[in-house]
Structure formats: structure tokens, C-alpha cells
């Protein structure tokens, strides 16, 4: 496939021609063939590689994986938040949005299919205008996710303001900065300036704080991030993400930095809000317990790919991919204390020249076979379950094992 194509510098527009995307009735977002790469001094890093998945309306889609598996980059790619030296190099991100589809149907018909638009083919400014009101995102560390010198209330009110300005004039970049002229720019860079945020936005921000269960929201809105505890701040971040009433919330490790008791509070808050508003959520985490608690379907990511995806039940009880098995086997459970079955080896390098053209998990896989030296396609096990592993249609054959190519347990390929 295209994963080694280092010269690809722009999104390939023709991706849709060879196989048309088909959308399910409740599909909200469909990511196809997404590749995001980072061009670093050490070489090209294939952070996300030919990724496919879809998110349905009103569901929680979990993305699980270890650090460096590309799960965060996936979330950032959807919001076009990839920063230099990274770039989305290929793929399509289809998003259901009738008004956009109508708007671009004529001028850019290749970017429109029914009610869906391919965000990567729309102008960048349009893609970005969806931030806040169609998509929003919450991050791992609430303490570093707020500007330390603006009040929490103001930061949330900014989100409200953006949403209001956008809804009154969706595609105008100018309207978003109206009232924020040169004077405000200069003053705002020195003094705490409220010139962007209006009184109603501030009131709405206070309502949102109350909604996420922050006591004394009026007073708390006037406080600065450092005056909040981690848990409170994570609630505030959720409030901020809700300000734009988004269709899709991307939660990137929303509980990882928090203590377990707080983690439980935040998870139930997220889950309540999701149900109440019927919005879709992409939940990115390394904690299988967290997905188990709130996700409907999930994808297990490894080395920039989704190795296995399906409903929670399929993945937990009927997993095919040895990596999924390894991941589940590595977790020390509080209910029993049997010996862990760790995955040998290390998290793989994503440097293009070190990746090779085989199953990326083969060197750590206890069931690696000869065919694994070639990249496996994605097999469909059933409607709710797909896997990128040869074991989907054949049994592990000891004779064909290539385990000896690689070091034994605990050994590191060097």
C-alpha cells in the first residue's frame, strides 16, 4: 500500500475513486486510509498509517493502545491540530454535516457524498471552523491544558463566544475576531482583557461549570487554573468542550492524570453527559478498564494502525489479534493476582526506515508465522469485528512459527 511513500506531500484527492466510501445509516464520522507523518531530523515517523474507522452517532468509540501507537495523533488529525513537522499525508475524513455538504456540493463535488463532506478536501479554514462547535477535544493533563493567566471562566466563555460567532456566521473567519482589533491585541497581550468575551458568554460559562458539577460556579469562574484541583479542572475542561455543543467529543486520556477516585467521578460525568446529549465520543486511552466502563466499540491501535476493532464484547471475549490478547494479559487486575503474561519486547519504533514491510507486531508476537513477514490485510470476522492478522482465517501452526527469528521473552531486539 502507500505506507512507504515518503514523497507524498499533499493529500491524495483521488483516494475516493477506486473504492467509494459507504456510509452506514448512523455514521457520523468515517476515517479512511488516514496517514499522518512527522518529518523529524531522525527521519520520517509514520505516526498514523492507513487508518480506517468510523464513529456512529451517539456512540462512544474507544481507541486503546500504548504510548506511541498513534492514538493521540489520530484525534489531533481529525481536528487538524497536527503541528509542524507533522502533516496529514493521505486519507479521507468524512463527516456528516448537511449544511457543509450543501454549501460545497457544487464547487467541490468530489469532497461531498450525500450528507458527508471529506474534511481533508475542504479548505483548511473550513476544516478549522468546525473546531469547537462540531468537534471538540479534551486532553490528558488538565493542569497544563488551561492558560495559567486567564480565569477559568473566561477561557470557557471564549469557547462559548467562538461557538456563538460561528453559528451566526459559520464560514467567516473575520466574524470570529470581530471586536478584537489592534488595540485589543496590544492591550490583551499585557493585561487580562475581556474584550473578546461578552457578558452572556460569561453567564453561559458559569452555567456550564454548574453543569459539570463545580460548586460555587460563579466564584470559581473568576478563579485561575492554579486555584483548581486536578479533578475540578478536568470538569472545567469538559465544560469548555461542551460549550460549542459539539457533535463529536474527542477525549484524549481524560482520566490518566487523575487519581482513581476522581477518575471515577470524571468517567461517570462524561458518560452522563454523553447519554444526555446523545453526542458521539472518541475515547482515547491506554487503560482498558476505562474503555470497558464507557465505550461501545473500540479499536486497538498498534504502531499507527488499528490492529483489531469491534464491539467491546468482541474485543474482550473474542479477540483474535495476539496483541489484544497480550494487552489484556498484561493488566494486573485487582480482583485476582495471577502471574502476568507480558508482551515481550518493546514498543516499536515508528521511524519509516525501521518499520519494514511486515506485520509490525511480528517481532513481539508469540504466534508469528512465516506469512507474517508480509503485511496482513484487514479481515472481517463478523459485522462487529475486524482484525489485521492472519490468525483471523487460519490456526497458529507451530511449524511455520518464526518466533526464533526474534529474541525470547524479556529480550530486546537490538
Amino acid at each position: 500500500m502507500t505506507h512507504n511513500d515518503a514523497s507524498t506531500t499533499s493529500v491524495q484527492r483521488s483516494a475516493g475513486t477506486d473504492n467509494e466510501p459507504d456510509f452506514g445509516p448512523n455514521t457520523l464520522l468515517k476515517v479512511r486510509n488516514l496517514s499522518t507523518r512527522f518529518f523529524t531530523d531522525e527521519g520520517q515517523v509514520n505516526a498514523v498509517e492507513s487508518l480506517d474507522f468510523e464513529v456512529k452517532e451517539g456512540e462512544v468509540f474507544g481507541i486503546v493502545g500504548e504510548s506511541g501507537s498513534g492514538k493521540s495523533v489520530t484525534g489531533l488529525s481529525i481536528l487538524d491540530l497536527i503541528e509542524s513537522p507533522g502533516r496529514i499525508t493521505d486519507g479521507e475524513i468524512w463527516f456528516r454535516n448537511r449544511s457543509l455538504a450543501d454549501e460545497f456540493n457544487e464547487q467541490q463535488s468530489q469532497a461531498v457524498r450525500d450528507e458527508f463532506v471529506n474534511l481533508l478536501e475542504l479548505p483548511e479554514s473550513v476544516h478549522r471552523s468546525l473546531r469547537g462547535n462540531s468537534f471538540s477535544m479534551i486532553f490528558q493533563d488538565p493542569m497544563s491544558s488551561f492558560d495559567p493567566t486567564s480565569t477559568v471562566g473566561e477561557q470557557i466563555a471564549e469557547a462559548v463566544e467562538v461557538q456563538q460567532r460561528t453559528s451566526s456566521n459559520p464560514r467567516s473567519a473575520r466574524s470570529r475576531t470581530q471586536g478584537y482589533g489592534f488595540k485589543s491585541m496590544v492591550l490583551g497581550s499585557i493585561l487580562p482583557s475581556k474584550s473578546f468575551v461578552t457578558e452572556p458568554s460569561m453567564e453561559r460559562a458559569i452555567e456550564l461549570l454548574e453543569l459539570v458539577g463545580i460548586p460555587d460556579p460563579k466564584k470559581r469562574a473568576q478563579e485561575y487554573p492554579h486555584q483548581f484541583s486536578g479533578g475540578m479542572l478536568q470538569r472545567a475542561m469538559i465544560a469548555q468542550a461542551l460549550a460549542g455543543e459539539p457533535d463529536l467529543l474527542i477525549a484524549d486520556e481524560p482520566t490518566t492524570a487523575l487519581d482513581v477516585t476522581i477518575q471515577a467521578q470524571i468517567l461517570s460525568l462524561l458518560s452522563d453527559i454523553q447519554e444526555e446529549r446523545g453526542m458521539s465520543v472518541i475515547l482515547i486511552t491506554h487503560n482498558l478498564g476505562v474503555v470497558a466502563r464507557v465505550a461501545d466499540r473500540l479499536g486497538v491501535m498498534y504502531a499507527g494502525e488499528i490492529a483489531e476493532r469491534g464491539t467491546l464484547k468482541e474485543i474482550f471475549e473474542n479477540h483474535t489479534h495476539p496483541y489484544t490478547a497480550g494487552l489484556l494479559g498484561s493488566i494486573p487486575e485487582i480482583d485476582e493476582a495471577e502471574r502476568l503474561r507480558p508482551i515481550p519486547g518493546n514498543v516499536p519504533s515508528l521511524l519509516d526506515h525501521e518499520m519494514g514491510d511486515r506485520c509490525y507486531f511480528a517481532d513481539r508476537c508469540p504466534k508469528a508465522m512465516e506469512e507474517c513477514m508480509e503485511k496482513p490485510p484487514e479481515y472481517e470476522i463478523n459485522d462487529d469485528h475486524r482484525v489485521r492478522c492472519y490468525l483471523a482465517n487460519r490456526e497458529f501452526d507451530e511449524d511455520r512459527s518464526i518466533r526464533d527469528h526474534f529474541d525470547g521473552e524479556g529480550g530486546e531486539p537490538s
Binding site: L81, R128, G132, S136, T149, E158, V162, L191, Y224
Partner: protein
């Protein structure tokens, strides 16, 4: 901690620092290789008058008595009399201080007005042509000596092009403003601007370089902070991200440096004032050193020290405005 308590605390800090400075300045007299009496008394004074002058000046007293008198004098605002001009040092300093402060403020403005946009452009265009250009200018500025730049500017802009006067200060700012406000006469303020431009640019340039680099690196630091990504994720326009949040946070260390530099502006002013015949404290101090006018040397140093302490105090207060984490330290948990 309330602002009031913070202010009290900072004031006491300031007083302690000022006291230390005063003591060091006092000690200078004793460290100086020249006999204090001969330094304090003009060489032409005949021996009889000399004795009485020594008595008058209290130089026959033990050092601690002299010290107490000296501190007492400073506390009462009495800095003694210049032996060269026989005028009270206070009077002289009052004439001189505004000039230096004007120059320092103007230089600060020059450096801020030039460096912050440069820093922003540099940071937002990292590793692109504007960034390299800004870095080049920064390097140029930092490696150009003040006096040389001053002389070159005078030669080019004043002597050859005749755009600005070579030196001097026709009007003080206060005087110029009074003229403007009371009489509606703009002549004074125009002259003031006309004369201060070159010295301010000369003095400010070095700091342009420094502040540009600082702003750039702070901006880059801030831009890599997680909250910037969050601001973008919520759809905030880039202008607001850059100015309302990133720049504002980047300026916090810049303000600290500015505050510290305001003091060095006064030091740097010594050279610039001499080159531009700018009648400020620096030029005054140099003259006093040349004539070994001890009361003036002491008085000038004291005023510089006190100005510096005061300005840093001001910066601390400003800090509490731009960085809410400062005053509220200790309250939250």
C-alpha cells in the same frame, strides 16, 4: 496574600536592598585609595580652612558616627552639597533624574516596540526567512557596542542626512507637556521627540536584540504548551491564541527582564548620555567622578540605587496584574 500585604512585604524588601546599597556606597569612600578629606575638600582650600572644613564635614569623627550621620542625611533627603558647584546634590539630581528616566523609558519603549513584534514574527515563522532575519538583527544588535552605534547614528542620520539633532535636550518632557497642555503649543513635545529619538534608539537597540530573543524563545516555549492546543481545539482564532494567550504568557519573563534592565538602562545611559550630551544622571556621574566630587558621586549612586529599587518594586506590582499566580500564591490549595 493580599495585595496590601504583598506591597508591604515588597516595600520592606526594597528598603533593605536600598539600605544595603547605601552602605556599600558609603564604604566606597573608605575603599577609595584617595584620602577622603582631600577628595572632599578642594585642593585650593588653605590649611586653616581645611581643618574647619574637616570638622564641618565630620571627617574627624569615627566611621560609625559618619555612617549614622550619612544614613540620617539620606533618610531626611539631604544628600549634601557638591563642592564643585556648591549646590545641593538634591537640587542637581532633581535637574538630572528626569532626563535619565525619560531616556530609560524611551529606550524601553523603543526596545519593546521593536522587539516584541520581532519576537512574535520570529516565533510564529520559526525556521523561515523572517525568523532568520530577526535573529540576524538580534545578533547584530547584541554585538554592537552602544557608543559606537551612537556615534555612527549621529554621523549617518544627523550629520549626513540632517534628520535628527546630534545631541542635546532642548526640552524636558514635563516642560514640553506643560507647554502642550497649558498653551496648546506642540513645539516643546516635537523638540523633545526630535532630540530623544537617537539616544533612545541607541540605548534601546542592545535590548531589542536581547528582548527579541527572549520573546521568541518564550513564545516558542508557550506555543509548545498543551493549553495552546486546547485553545485551538476549541476553535479560538489564531490571532487571539497568539496575542491574548501565548504572547501574554510569554511577556511575563520579558517583564522581569525589562524591570532588571531598566536598572541597566540607567547604567547604559552613562555612555549614551555622554555621546549625546544628554544631561542625565550618567553624564553627571561621570563628570563628578572626573572632578572627584564625592558628595555628587554618592548622591548620584544613591538616587540610581533607589530608582532601581523603586522600579523593580513597580515591576513586582505589575507582575501581580499580568500573572495572577504571583499574589495569590499560598492562598489556593
Amino acid at each position: 496574600m493580599s495585595l496590601l500585604k504583598f506591597t508591604i512585604k515588597r516595600t520592606i524588601h526594597g528598603i533593605v536592598v536600598a539600605w544595603a546599597a547605601l552602605t556599600i556606597i558609603f564604604a566606597l569612600r573608605f575603599i577609595s585609595p584617595v584620602d577622603i578629606a582631600s577628595a572632599l575638600i578642594p585642593p585650593d582650600v588653605p590649611p586653616t580652612a581645611r581643618e574647619s572644613l574637616i570638622e564641618d564635614l565630620g571627617l574627624d569623627q569615627p566611621w560609625y558616627v559618619q555612617y549614622l550621620r550619612y544614613i540620617g542625611g539620606v533618610v531626611q533627603g539631604d544628600l549634601g552639597y557638591s563642592y564643585v558647584s556648591r549646590i545641593s546634590v538634591n537640587q542637581l539630581a532633581i535637574n538630572r533624574l528626569p532626563a535619565t528616566l525619560e531616556l530609560a523609558v524611551a529606550a524601553t519603549l523603543v526596545s519593546v516596540v521593536l522587539s516584541i513584534p520581532l519576537g512574535v514574527i520570529s516565533a510564529t515563522n520559526r525556521h523561515q526567512v523572517p525568523d532568520y532575519l530577526a535573529s540576524f538583527f538580534a545578533l547584530l544588535g547584541i554585538s554592537t557596542p552602544n557608543f559606537w552605534l551612537g556615534i555612527m547614528l549621529v554621523l549617518l542620520v544627523s550629520v549626513m542626512l540632517g534628520w535628527f539633532p546630534t545631541s542635546g535636550r532642548e526640552f524636558g518632557f514635563y516642560e514640553a507637556m506643560r507647554l502642550l497642555i497649558l498653551d496648546g503649543n506642540r513645539y516643546g513635545i516635537i523638540q523633545w521627540l526630535y532630540h530623544i529619538t537617537l539616544p533612545a534608539i541607541t540605548l534601546g537597540t542592545y535590548y531589542v536584540a536581547l528582548l527579541t530573543r527572549l520573546t521568541r524563545s518564550e513564545m516558542l516555549d508557550q506555543l509548545s504548551e498543551e493549553y495552546v492546543r486546547v485553545l485551538r481545539a476549541k476553535g479560538l482564532p489564531e490571532t487571539l491564541v497568539t496575542f491574548k494567550h501565548v504572547l501574554r504568557n510569554s511577556l511575563i519573563p520579558v517583564v522581569t527582564v525589562l524591570g532588571l534592565q531598566f536598572g541597566s538602562f540607567i547604567n547604559g545611559a552613562v555612555v549614551v548620555e555622554v555621546v549625546f550630551r544628554w544631561p542625565g544622571m550618567g553624564e553627571f556621574l561621570i563628570r563628578a567622578i572626573r572632578t572627584v566630587d564625592w558628595p555628587v558621586i554618592q548622591g548620584t549612586l544613591i538616587i540610581i540605587a533607589i530608582t532601581w529599587v523603586t522600579i523593580n518594586f513597580g515591576v513586582d506590582i505589575l507582575y501581580t496584574i499580568i500573572d495572577p499566580r504571583v499574589t495569590l500564591e499560598g492562598e489556593s490549595e
